[in-house]
């Protein structure tokens, strides 16, 4: 038992660090694919690493109007995503799932968001406040959707531990595939776009302050603080993609400690995350951003999907 916990802890740390290390690459890949669609060469896929290195070297300016909330938020942000990462299976099913289940993961993310919203308001800039209010409008619908979607998986597998969900699904294979799985995947994917400020909810590459949601909240950050906020946001996208991959389609994940299983697990998760990145890039290239007040329509749709997923579990 203790032996298992030690193995799980080691893997959890390794996997969390691997996700952190790969998250800028995922951003780079999305940007590259978008550039191809736009007929541009685009920056190298490792550009986000350079950006990160640059930001860490830059001076940090903090408004004299800002309180401790503003200063502490970058650390809360990076800490909450890293703790959440420990609870999520990456290439193996081993994680610290026995410490906290999916509800903890979701609310660690919410803590990140909560502090970011406060930080947006804290400096008193007009844009930060707008970003904060919009973020909360979006997240008030996204949060229940996401919970419902993952609960569907919990219902199918009979556990709320993310690792156990992956394991159960991966081992029992096709037997557990139900319509609910696909409905929940769709709902979760829409939530992923909304939570990570992607088109059609937000435009990650815009310079227009008036249209921003996520970017407006971090507008006042600079230097190291900005680097941490950016890293946390990238990590968040990675984390959601991994949850999407491993909770909804865990096949391929390493369920034992064999070398072959590990290699297969690494290959599988990389392919799955790449697939998510491509899907995001295609959506961002193929459609315009929605009007702010149309967002609830799409979000309600995703909530309905999640609700249907839960209901269909009992009916079908």
């Amino acid at each position: 038992m203790v032996h298992d916990m030690i193995i799980s802890s080691v893997f959890a740390v390794v996997q969390a660090l691997a996700m952190l290390a790969l998250s800028p690459l995922m951003i780079g890949v999305i940007r590259k694919i978008k550039a191809w669609f736009q007929g541009r060469k685009g920056a190298s896929i490792v550009q986000p690493y350079y950006d990160m290195a640059k930001l860490f070297r830059k001076e940090t300016v903090v408004s004299d109007q800002a309180s401790w909330v503003f200063r502490v938020t970058p650390y809360v942000a990076i800490a909450s995503v890293m703790v959440a990462a420990l609870l999520v299976p990456f290439f193996t099913i081993y994680s610290l799932g026995f410490v906290g289940d999916l509800i903890v993961v979701i609310y660690l993310m919410t803590m990140f968001k909560f502090f970011m919203v406060l930080a947006g308001l804290d400096t008193g800039s007009a844009f930060g406040g707008m970003g904060s209010s919009r973020e909360l409008m979006v997240s008030s619908i996204v949060e229940p959707t996401m919970l419902l979607a993952i609960f569907t998986m919990a219902l199918i597998t009979g556990t709320t531990n993310l690792s156990s969900i992956s394991e159960t699904l991966a081992i029992s294979g096709i037997d557990l595939v139900r319509p609910a799985l696909f409905l929940a995947t769709a709902a979760f994917f829409i939530s992923l776009l909304a939570e990570n400020a992607r088109v059609p909810f937000d435009n990650p590459s815009t310079h227009l302050e008036l249209t921003m949601i996520h970017e407006a909240m971090v507008l006042e950050y600079s230097g190291r603080n900005l680097a941490l906020m950016e890293a946390a946001s990238w990590m968040k996208l990675m984390l959601y993609s991994v949850i999407l991959s491993n909770v909804f389609f865990p096949w391929g994940i390493a369920t034992d400690l064999t070398v072959l299983g590990m290699i297969g697990g690494i290959a599988a998760i990389l392919v799955k995350v790449l697939f998510v990145a491509i899907a995001i890039a295609i959506i961002e290239s193929g459609m315009a951003k929605m009007r702010l007040f149309r967002l609830p329509n799409l979000l309600t749709l995703s909530f309905t999907l999640a609700l249907l997923a839960v209901t269909s579990y009992y009916i079908l």
Partner: protein, 528 residues
């Protein structure tokens, strides 16, 4: 031209106005009426209300050295036929005030504020006399456009403030945006009053790029004035300098060679195409549709490099000169233009097909930023913005210059007044421009490029209207000794900026950038 109706216009004046006419004269299509200063507002209201004329400009000239008065010129264009009416009034230098036109003609608002700060001419009855362009710390009583103002002496700074329109109420917040923006764009301040997301009020504050163009022009000999006019608003340098050149040519009575007229037409349209491409791309970019934006920017870049291959300048600088043009288009140039345009048209059709058939984009642009027909008329907007709000005006057709008279083109007209309509007007204008260039290439006669213009008599007035990609630009020159005595520039943006405040009303804050982009107004042209 049409002397009949123009003469009748003076004869048909109501007796109360007729009695105040000091003199009137008709030259070609230009009717000039001098009225006593107390009748200026009435006469102007008559022109708009009775003759349905469009206000082109209202500006002043300082002629105190000559006759001790300021002259106020109010210029109108008749809606039908190529008729221009100038109503002039003298205002005594010792009592520089007159009755404001703004209560009757809303579009005169900014013109009178401009005259107030430039010349110190007080429009009595004007509702809003805050400065328009000069910075907050400009001392009162110093009027830079007066002849006795010495630009070489620094002006002392007096700390004052600027009062924005203030909206109060529960949950109403102000959002100050600018003058420094996140993108590489010009400076301007936007003050929003919002209730949540919906915009209750927007006030646009301009003046951050005021360069004193009009004053500077008074010190530059005509040929250098051409260079200056190219720099009034960088992306319509050609049409602006064309208007300046035509104004000087009309004073000198110069006969511009036919070939030069066709070349000017072709270059004007080349300028329009690259600008419209940028605008269309901008609308796509602001709705986060990057693919469409990049396609449009590629086409814009192709036009710019074509400009460079043909004239040596991507932005068609130094092409115009007084009397004609400097750059010719030879046979190989013609070939390269027509090949480029064919390819451009094909790729543009792809882009248009994609943008007009994409539901997510259409959802963003339709019904966004509506400028109603009525508001557009009252605000006297010009260009594609007017044509998207159902106003059928195009200087190229209504007051033809260069070779437009001999070419055929249609003027796209939409009535919706939203971002979609403005986008469609620009899209259709690109296609018309391509056809115009091809026609100009086909019909261009051989001949000289530039007529010699030596004798520009002093004390005469020349005026010219051209259609930039933003709408009608006016250059009005009163000649002096080898340089303008007074040079008035009216960029289309000067008329269109107030319209943006109206169009944004009731929209939500995140839709402002795409509305602003669909207007795409010039800050520099407005601030002069």
């Amino acid at each position: 031209m049409m002397p009949g109706p123009m003469n009748e216009l003076v004869e048909d004046l109501p007796s109360i106005l007729a009695s105040s006419v000091v003199s009137s004269s008709l030259e070609a299509n230009h009717l000039q009426i001098e009225v006593r200063k107390d009748a200026l507002a009435g006469m102007a209201a008559h022109m708009i209300g009775h003759c349905h004329a469009w206000l082109i400009s209202e500006h002043a000239a300082d002629l105190r050295e000559r006759d001790g008065t300021f002259h106020i010129y109010v210029i109108f264009a008749l809606p039908k036929g190529d008729g221009i009416i100038t109503v002039m009034s003298k205002v005594d230098g010792s009592d520089p005030s007159y009755r404001s036109l703004t209560p009757d003609i809303y579009a005169a608002n900014w013109f009178e504020r401009e005259m107030m700060e430039g010349f110190g001419l007080l429009p009595s009855g004007h509702p809003d006399l805050r400065p328009l362009r000069l910075y907050d710390s400009w001392p009162s009583g110093v009027y830079p456009m007066r002849k006795d103002f010495d630009p070489s002496v620094p002006v002392p700074r007096v700390p004052t403030g600027y009062e924005f329109r203030h909206v109060e109420g529960e949950g109403i917040f102000e959002i100050p945006v600018g003058p420094v923006h996140a993108g590489v764009i010009e400076p301007g301040h936007f003050r929003f009053s919002v209730a949540g997301e919906p915009v209750i009020n927007l006030e646009v504050r301009m003046g951050y790029v005021h360069k004193g163009i009009e004053k500077l022009s008074e010190s530059l000999p005509y040929p250098r004035g051409v260079m200056l006019s190219e720099r009034i608003s960088g992306d319509n340098g050609f049409t602006h300098s064309l208007a300046y050149c035509q104004a000087i040519e009309s004073i000198a009575g110069a006969d511009v060679p036919e070939r030069a007229r066709y070349l000017r037409t072709a270059f004007s349209e080349m300028e329009r195409i690259y600008n419209h491409m940028g605008d269309i791309g901008g609308i796509a970019l602001d709705t986060a549709f990057g693919v469409g934006a990049q396609m449009a920017y590629v086409l814009r870049e192709r036009m710019l490099s074509l400009n460079e291959r043909i004239t040596g300048s991507r932005f068609l600088r130094s092409v115009n000169c007084i009397g004609g043009v400097r750059k010719d288009i030879d046979m190989s140039g013609k070939r390269s233009i027509s090949t480029e345009l064919i390819g451009l048209k094909l790729d543009f059709d792809d882009l248009v097909g994609m943008m007009t058939e994409m539901p997510s984009l259409l959802d963003r642009v339709e019904t966004t930023g509506m400028l109603s027909d009525d508001a557009a008329k009252n605000l006297n907007v010009v260009g594609p913005i007017a044509r998207a709000s159902g106003i059928d005006r195009d200087t190229r057709r209504d007051h033809p210059y260069a070779a437009y008279k001999d070419l055929s083109f249609s003027v796209p007209l939409y009535r919706e007044g939203d971002v979609y309509a403005r986008m469609m007007v620009k899209i259709e204008e690109v296609l018309e421009s391509i056809s115009l260039i091809e026609q100009a290439m086909d019909r261009m006669p051989e001949g000289q490029l530039c007529a010699k213009v030596v004798d520009v008599q002093a004390g005469r007035i020349g005026m010219s209207l051209t259609e930039t990609h933003r709408g009608e630009a006016m250059h009005w020159v009163m000649s002096g000794e080898g340089r303008p005595w007074r040079h008035k520039v009216r960029d289309p943006s000067f008329l269109n900026w107030p319209a943006i405040e109206v169009a944004v009303m009731g929209n939500i804050v995140p839709d402002f950038p795409v509305i602003n982009k669909s207007f795409n107004l010039s800050y520099s042209g407005n601030d002069l």
